[in-house]
Amino acid sequence: MGSQDREGGDAMNYDELYGQLAAEGYTTQRQAPPIAAPAENAPWYTRVMLGFAGWIAGLFLVGFFAGSFVLLVKTLPAMLALGLGLCAAAAFIDRRTRDGDVVPQLALAIGMAGRTFFTMAVAEMVGGDDTHVAAWAIVGLEVAMFVALRTPLHRVLGVMIGASALYYGLHRIGAAGAASFVLAIVLARLWGDEARWRTNRHVHSALGALAWGLAIVVVAWPLPSFFLKEATQATRALETAGYAAGLMMLAFSMARRPGNGTIAAVVAIGFLALAASRAPGVLAGTLVLVAGLASGRHVLAALGVIGIVGYLSVFYYQLDQTLLVKSASLAAAGVVLLAARFLVGRFVKGGKP
């Protein structure tokens, strides 16, 4: 990155950065403000570790409540109330967090236990035929939790649960592709418009959590073979349209001043979408990969790569299409990318590898 700028940000300090920003007219200050450097956030893998640990602690809390209050767990309204009460307690504790990791972890564990009781109670109440109703209830709970919580990690996990419930609910009512379409558009809008919300002190934390949570769900959800087996042509078409629209939105937001390059990108995305319409998971991974490349976030880009490779592994076992059809779709997508590679190398300045 940064062919004419710095590589990786290793050697640049803020005084140098402000000097260059001022020279280009982005700021009037020629030197960085004399304040302390902001503290670094926990690295992503530490947050993954905290998320897993919070989930494990939540399971033990479920055991504690199930063992201590047997009657509560045997009566569905009481179990529902227990779940909601624990979620409320988690949000209350989370909002009082000032610093450190113990209190947010406690809130996370209590929140996971609350969600478990809530889900069990609602699923039991609506019965086996109306599980989509339970999914809507979970979506509602997660929306409320998202508003109430403050800690990014807890919010990300909540977004993952809520978005998965949305996928599941829409799948149960025969509109599985709609979730992919909507979430792909929202994801592209968030990552394409990152500069606007990153600089807004009121929404940056919430929208950052939403953007990361959705990215994980968009990549992960095409993977379960259970849903792939029941994929219809209409579902795949809707998914493909959503991912393609998301990629086009990213192309426009990256271009800033749309021109011939943007039109070429839109045409290329259109061809890729047509070619890979039988394998929409490839497009889902590509959407996250491009979002990661555009925002310079390597972890997000790696998530997209993992999504593509994981999807191809599962795609092999999908039963509603023959291997010949799948092979043709992948080969066509490969040829589109190969053609795009030669066109970029031939016609775009700086395109030679």
Partner: protein, 361 residues
């Protein structure tokens, strides 16, 4: 403060001159947060400055480009070339595998064999022509590794050689080695690591008695751990060292796999009522001690240390379940374990952050 004063104080009147401050040796201790002007530009600090109103949206966006944290318009042709090259290689190689697996009756076995062999030869020729250590050459070698596996699978399936599945993966591992050596690229080696794991994993189940010294499942876990520890050590010593953003992929994958197998082994050992597979705790202790030394003392790797901490938390929780199960009310000890997991994970996060702030000697 020491950093702030000594580097800047003498030449800039915005900062105090503080020559009287004694600067401690900070090579093994967390560094204090320096003043902003001289601190390194990072993604987190840029985000924090933007949130605090020091940079507007346009300045934040441009600042990331200047600092090399996000691509400029001029970078995109090169990024797209990389994306399209690797993407087309992956998709075309996968399409070939799917096509052969379809077992199209219109196409005879010799035609399919010829197609696969032609694909392998084409990938080799492309890699040689494009140079195996360029991006396009590496894409060709990766496609070549996948095509080699497809060729072996096809031969095994069509000619009913009587070979076991583990032999397919073992042969694939061996034949993938020249490609990976030529490419000297971590993702190519990651495929070799995966096929080697599959080969050994499938082999142990039918291996001679001597290799199942612990019992089938226990031996499987211990030997898979040892394979990945060995792969991790080799990767650290001789693995790809290009600073291309993926050079740590191989040792990390290998050590995460080793830690995962070792943790599964120790958890199974703790929950086993007879506690007879004593080699599993020995293997786990060796892996944990080795990883601590390697990634805390020898080469700092916070990702592996985070995984290390999570593994210990799992083991402590499992051990508490085993011990407390015999005594007291389950509800009470579950609350206790939940509290311990919360406390340990919070401590681990603080510990990793503290290491991250240490000044590298």
């Amino acid at each position: 403060l020491a950093h702030f004063c000594t580097r800047r104080g003498a030449e800039d009147d915005r900062y105090p001159t503080c020559a009287h401050i004694e600067i401690p040796d900070m090579t093994e201790h967390p560094a204090p947060r320096p003043g902003l002007p001289l601190s390194r530009v990072t993604r987190d600090s840029l985000d924090a400055l933007a949130v605090d109103g020091h940079l507007d949206a346009a300045a934040w966006r441009r600042a990331r480009e200047i600092a090399g944290l996000a691509p400029t318009n001029g970078d995109w042709p090169r990024i797209l070339q990389t994306l399209f090259t690797l993407g087309s290689a992956l998709l075309l190689a996968t399409a070939l595998v799917f096509f052969i697996a379809y077992n199209w009756t219109e196409m005879g076995r010799f035609a399919r064999l010829g197609l696969l062999e032609a694909a392998v030869v084409l990938c080799a020729a492309l890699a040689w022509w494009l140079q195996p250590r360029t991006l396009a050459g590496r894409a060709a070698t990766t496609a070549g590794i996948i095509a080699t596996g497809a060729l072996l699978a096809f031969i095994g399936q069509t000619y009913q050689t009587g070979a076991d599945p583990w032999q397919l993966f073992a042969a694939w591992t061996v034949l993938a080695l020249p490609w990976a050596l030529a490419a000297a690229w971590a993702p190519s080696w990651a495929i070799v690591l995966a096929t080697a794991n599959l080969a050994l994993g499938l082999y142990i189940g039918q291996a001679p008695e001597a290799l199942r010294w612990l019992g089938e499942y226990e031996a499987w876990l211990a030997e898979m751990t040892l394979l990945n520890v060995a792969a991790g050590a080799v990767a650290e010593k001789w693995g790809p060292k290009d600073r291309d953003g993926v050079y740590r992929l191989l040792p990390r994958l290998a050590m995460l796999a080793a830690l995962g197998f070792a943790t599964a082994g120790i958890v199974g050992f703790i929950l086993d009522k007879d506690l007879d597979a004593l080699a599993l705790p020995v293997v786990y202790a060796a892996v944990v001690a080795g990883m601590y030394w390697a990634y805390r003392r020898w080469r700092r790797d916070l990702l592996l240390l985070s995984a290390w901490a999570l593994s210990l938390i799992l083991v402590v929780a499992t051990a508490m379940v085993r011990v407390l199960d015999k005594i007291g009310d389950p509800a009470a000890w579950m609350m206790l374990i939940a509290a311990v997991v919360v406390g340990l994970s919070a401590w681990a996060a603080t510990w990793v952050r503290r290491i991250a702030r240490e000044v590298t000697p």
